[in-house]
Amino acid sequence: MPTLQYVSSRESTPAGIAPSYGHFIGGAWVPASDGATFATVNPATDEELAQVAAGTAADVDRAVAAARHAYETYWRPLSPARRAAYIYRIARAISERARELAVLETLDNGKAIKESRDFDVPQAAAHFFYYAGWADKLAYAARAGRAPHALGVVGAIVPWNFPLLMAAWKIAPALAAGNTIVLKPAETTPLSALRLAEICAEADLPPGVLNIVTGDGVAGAALAAHPGIDKIAFTGSTEVGKSIARARAGSHIPITLELGGKAANIVFADAPLDAAIEGIVNGIYFNQGHVCCAGSRLLVQESIHDEIVARLAARIETLRIGDPLDKNTDIGAINSHAQLDRIEELVASGVADGATFHRQSATLPDRGAFFPASFFTGVGPAMRIAREEIFGPVLSILTFRTADEAIEKANNTRYGLSAGVWTDKGSKSMYVAGKLKAGVVWCSTFNKFDPSSPFGGYRESGFGREGGLPGLRPYLRFAPNGTPESA
């Protein structure tokens, strides 16, 4: 009996990766001050993709100076409508080069091409389009009697899970608000930000308006501590976020932090279960679980626990894991062996704590960093797998009996970034959503994003919002009407 086969169907657009990259500072490509470089690697093959400049404090200095110069010389005097035109141009260039950017992102990050093609790149373009529209309408971001002013130089540090998209989340509102920016991409995923710098150069963005310094935590720490920046926007781990907040305490510059999460995805017995299974799968296995808002704690009503577990076990067998460039791949590579080690360590702790581990039976590729779609049952609320962010394709399943118990369990975390609620009753989803301490609550869906919709956390998931008007305000200063620009 013939069954349907999906043979490998690789996206063949060339990514055009150069052998080496410098920093992008003041519109020019420059090596690190000490000439040091490091390799960025394709996590699906362990092969080196390019050598990249290893940023130093001196490089950060130089980038901040270039951004300051561009702010004073080109960007601040520019009319808002002209500023918008540049941002629209960048948005269009991202759309036009979407295929190439998707391949580049997949090579450097390991994520499946269908996600970089259908999510990361279109969302990045959408953010530029959205904030371009704000550039000459900033007055509407202010309360009556107050006028908006740019802050100056923004220091932005972004993570490796959505490298281009997280860069877009920072760059688009920063530029629209009239700031210039120094961006440090993650150590393991610098290439798409560097390609974005090329795109900005081709769009004739004035030199120094966008600067990219690549490197590890040394460059990041230097940028976060730099006295010449006027705002810090950070997305990444709670641990690093805390150290930035400590380092900048008392310095009176605005900070936004978008940190980790351990989101509860709550499924009631009256939910449309076929839909809920898809939502659970999307919630935890999207982007290999490298998602700060991943629905990593599944809370199911006790009466449907066994059915959900049986259905989920069957569903993950249909997920295709492997070559991220294959258009049929659902689960790509873990971003790095360091992250894979962390996932494996936490999974081992779950097994040692007595939880039961279930995984898809597919064979993993014999090279590269891969981890199967998997979940734990029999999870106790005190286990590390119920409390710590695994940041991988591993779900922890717990049960509840009543709505109030679900709310209590959902909120019993130090995080508060996102949550999901699955029920067929509108009144119940509104009741539960209103009591969840999470920045975003998805009802009968998960991982829905739009540039106009604010996103951000409570508690140790950070503060400040990205997207929409609340995502624009942190890049502005509001002063009473008539206050001089420089005040």
Binding site: M1, P2, T3, L4, Q5, Y6, V7, S9, K114, D118, D270, A271, P272, L273, D274, A275, A276, E278, G279, T318, K327, N328, D424, S444, T445
Partner: protein, 292 residues
Amino acid sequence: MLAQSPVVDAVMLESRAADFAKRSIKREAKRAAIDLAIRCIDLTTLEGKDSPGRVRSLCAKARNPAPGAPAVAAVCVYPNLVAVAKDALAGSGVKVASVATAFPSGLSSLDVKLRDTEAALVAGADEIDMVIDRGAFLAGDEATVFAEVAAVKKLCGAVHVKAILEAGELGSYDAVRRASDIALDAGADTIKTSTGKIGISSTLPIALAMCESLRAFYRRTGERRGFKAAGGIRTTKSAFAYLVLIDETLGGEWLDPDLFRIGASSLLDDLLLQREKERTGRYTSPDAIGKD
């Protein structure tokens, strides 16, 4: 009959259904999938102007669509033409399916519907494509819908019964799910999306809602029942989306003419065109394919 059917969420249903169209099926997988799709076709003609000559021509195409290509699963005609089709397909293994029960509206007395079915059976139909009474369903009279499907199945005995839900008239995915559950519980061997006679025929979300019902039925009873998508499937690419949907929702066991059919007419020509392209490496003229 189940007292209640599970609820369906339209947003997630449509989003999941859209995933199926994104699978990329190329090279040897494409060649195999084209032949699989051909083997699952119910080659259909249901027009007022259908004549014995037209049906004989269609049957010749059904037996031998193109040199080297497999035969289709069945030919689907009105009851009056079953005998002609039966004769033209003798010895081929291609089945004869007949629409019945006051197709396409289903708005007649049960007695007339059963006589209609009986005429098709007497003429030698191997399969009966009946329509459910949507008027009764939408009026809340689920018992009538159930009873009519059960009565037709009883009359047909071992003959395969496909219950056409005409999903495009039911108004919601919840209703599609409910009608699927009722038809299966009443004994339909296959549930079928549509008559092909109204604007909205088969769509991927409708098919998914119906396959979720089949999946639940299998879980509940251990019995595999069939699915037929009909209407609006004209291209190889859209047929492939259904194969993927079946494979990922019900499993590979369902990718068999006993459990999966596509009711179509022009689809076969596109499949043959693509088959020729895979064989020769280039597209041929549509006129190089023998029309039915």
